[in-house]
């Protein structure tokens, strides 16, 4: 501030600098949009001129028409809400139960050491392989799908959050102990609050994981949902339907991820200053 002129005028050099930054930002955004537009245009043109078989590849206008049709008969919202509901439940449960297990393992070093090889094996196991078992045990229904989403996200959460807990500086814990803190106080006063950034990044990973779990679950058992729509579309050879559900999925997953990113930003901001 003190280096600036008295009348708080910004120097020409600085203006040029700001302009350059702004131009660059605009250029990036324009290119991003252009890629999408060009891609859609080529797809559409290729389909119309019969360079590609629109029956197999679908085409943007057909996807749009399918969207409108699903919107008009209300099917669209039923499928979206089923899938989003399953994802949110799976994702929330995965995070909560995963964090809870991480707390238990933090609490008992013995348990943590004992379970270590099991966690490693479970983590490397593709959880999708458990699908058939879940269906037999729980039955073909939304519950199976939620359990699938839960399984996919829970082990990653346990490992990620536990590592976050263990990274809390031993001196911070020593400080609390010099005040005579109990283990519970060490957990609530320092370990948990210090690990919130770790937990939020686990949340971010879990959003993606839960989508995988839910869609795989829907492929296997469901009667509704975007995963079901895609599989059904494939079975009856309606590629329009498949492509439409993929597009909706992309948008929904991106929105959910942005939601968590927004939460993170808000939290970090609140933590830095007032």
């Amino acid at each position: 501030m003190s280096n600036n002129n008295n009348n708080s005028q910004v120097s020409k050099e600085h203006l040029a600098y700001l302009k350059k930054i702004k131009h660059r930002r605009i250029a990036i955004r324009v290119t991003q949009i252009a890629i999408l537009v060009v891609f859609l245009a080529i797809w559409e043109t290729a389909a119309r001129l019969k360079w590609i078989d629109a029956f197999i590849t679908s085409q943007p206008t057909r996807i749009w028409a399918t969207l409108v049709r699903l919107h008009l008969n209300g099917e669209l919202y039923r499928h979206i809400s089923v899938t989003i509901f399953e994802t949110i439940i799976g994702f929330t449960l995965g995070t909560l139960i995963g964090t809870f297990i991480a707390i238990i393992l933090w609490w008992s070093d013995f348990l943590s050491k004992v379970t270590d090889p099991y966690l490693v094996v479970l983590n490397s196991l593709p959880k999708v392989a458990l699908g058939p078992i879940i269906i037999v045990w729980i039955g073909a229904g939304p519950l199976s799908i939620i359990v699938m989403a839960l399984l996919v996200s829970i082990i990653v959460t346990v490992i990620g959050v536990l590592n976050g807990f263990l990274e809390v500086s031993p001196d911070k814990i020593k400080l609390l102990k010099t005040f005579g803190a109990t283990k519970m106080q060490v957990l609530t006063k320092v370990v948990l609050p210090a690990s919130i950034p770790t937990i939020i990044s686990a949340l971010k990973i879990n959003v993606g994981m839960s989508w995988v779990g839910v869609i795989v679950g829907e492929f296997l058992v469901s009667k509704a949902g975007l995963g079901y729509l895609a599989v059904y579309g494939g079975q009856v050879f309606q590629l329009d339907l498949v492509m439409t559900s993929v597009v909706i999925l992309m948008v929904a997953a991106a929105l959910m991820y942005q939601g968590v990113a927004w939460l993170e930003k808000r939290y970090m901001k609140g933590r830095r200053s007032e």
């Binding site: 911070k172 102990k177 010099t178 803190a181 609050p193 933590r271």
Partner: protein, 258 residues
């Protein structure tokens, strides 16, 4: 054990255990500290200086011997003893005031009186305006002062200072050691300071203990008298006796670069 001494170590020894074997860390330490004394402890790295503080704080038990604070044997952390670490370890997610209240919160002593006392400490030592700031907004020296007030807020009799200035740059370090010395004197606390810095130990303490290499024993003890009107530690460094003490302790430490 009489209450004549606020801190007393009676033939204290401590061994550390690891898979590689047993390491004697402290051997036969005897130390009596009177109320209001400021004790400096110097010694080569790894000689068990910090271990002495951990014993007094009740974080660890001696292998043999006894540790007394205020005439009672130490069995665990108590509110009689406050501990100040090398780093301030202020919690980023708490405001300065909330950080200062941490100890009271843990000891279940949060009430109007104690909160008022903590606020008064912040005011008295120039941090009143920063109460609602967050640690990231403060300089290193200020943060370490907040850490001291956090320790004082639970009103301990004895302060254990574990190289509290070593993470700071030289100027801040001098200024802060003046501050801390004055605060401790005004609040009438007893202090034990562990440090690598011989000058710091001499200028702050009434008595300097020199520890030997591991296993740590008390090699020698110097009562410090520095002449001068201005009792600020930085000014006391100019006292004519200062150099003599420095040379004596330097020789005693027998430092060799290996």
């Amino acid at each position: 054990m009489s209450e004549e001494y606020i801190v007393a170590l009676d033939h204290v020894s401590l061994n550390y255990h690891s898979l590689e074997g047993e390491t004697p860390a402290l051997k036969d330490i005897c130390l009596n500290v009177s109320r209001g004394e400021f004790i400096g402890i110097v010694g080569p790295s790894g000689c068990g200086k910090t271990t002495i503080l951990s014993l007094i704080a009740g974080l660890i038990r001696p292998t043999s011997g006894h540790v007394y604070v205020n005439g009672r044997e130490v069995e665990g952390p108590s509110s009689l003893v406050g501990y100040m670490l090398q780093q301030d370890h202020l919690f980023d997610w708490r405001s300065i005031r909330q950080n200062v209240l941490l100890g009271l919160e843990i000891q279940g002593k949060l009430n109007e009186d104690t909160i008022a006392r903590a606020d008064r400490l912040l005011e008295t030592y120039g941090l009143g305006d920063f109460k609602n700031h967050y640690p990231k907004q403060l300089s290193g020296g200020m943060r370490q002062r907040v850490a001291l007030i956090r320790t004082l807020a639970v009103n301990p009799e004895v302060l254990l200072l574990d190289e509290p200035f070593s993470a700071l740059d030289y100027q801040t370090r001098l200024a802060l050691s003046d501050d801390v010395a004055n605060i401790i004197k005004r609040e009438e606390k007893t202090a034990l300071l562990v440090t690598h810095d011989i000058s710091e130990a001499i200028s702050l303490s009434n008595r300097v203990l020199v520890l030997s290499k591991r296993p740590g024993t008390i090699k020698s003890s110097y009562n410090i008298y520095l002449s001068g009107q201005n009792r600020n530690p930085t000014e006391l460094r100019k006292a004519p006796e200062f150099r003599e003490y420095f040379n004596l302790i330097w020789k005693e430490l027998d430092v060799h670069v290996q």
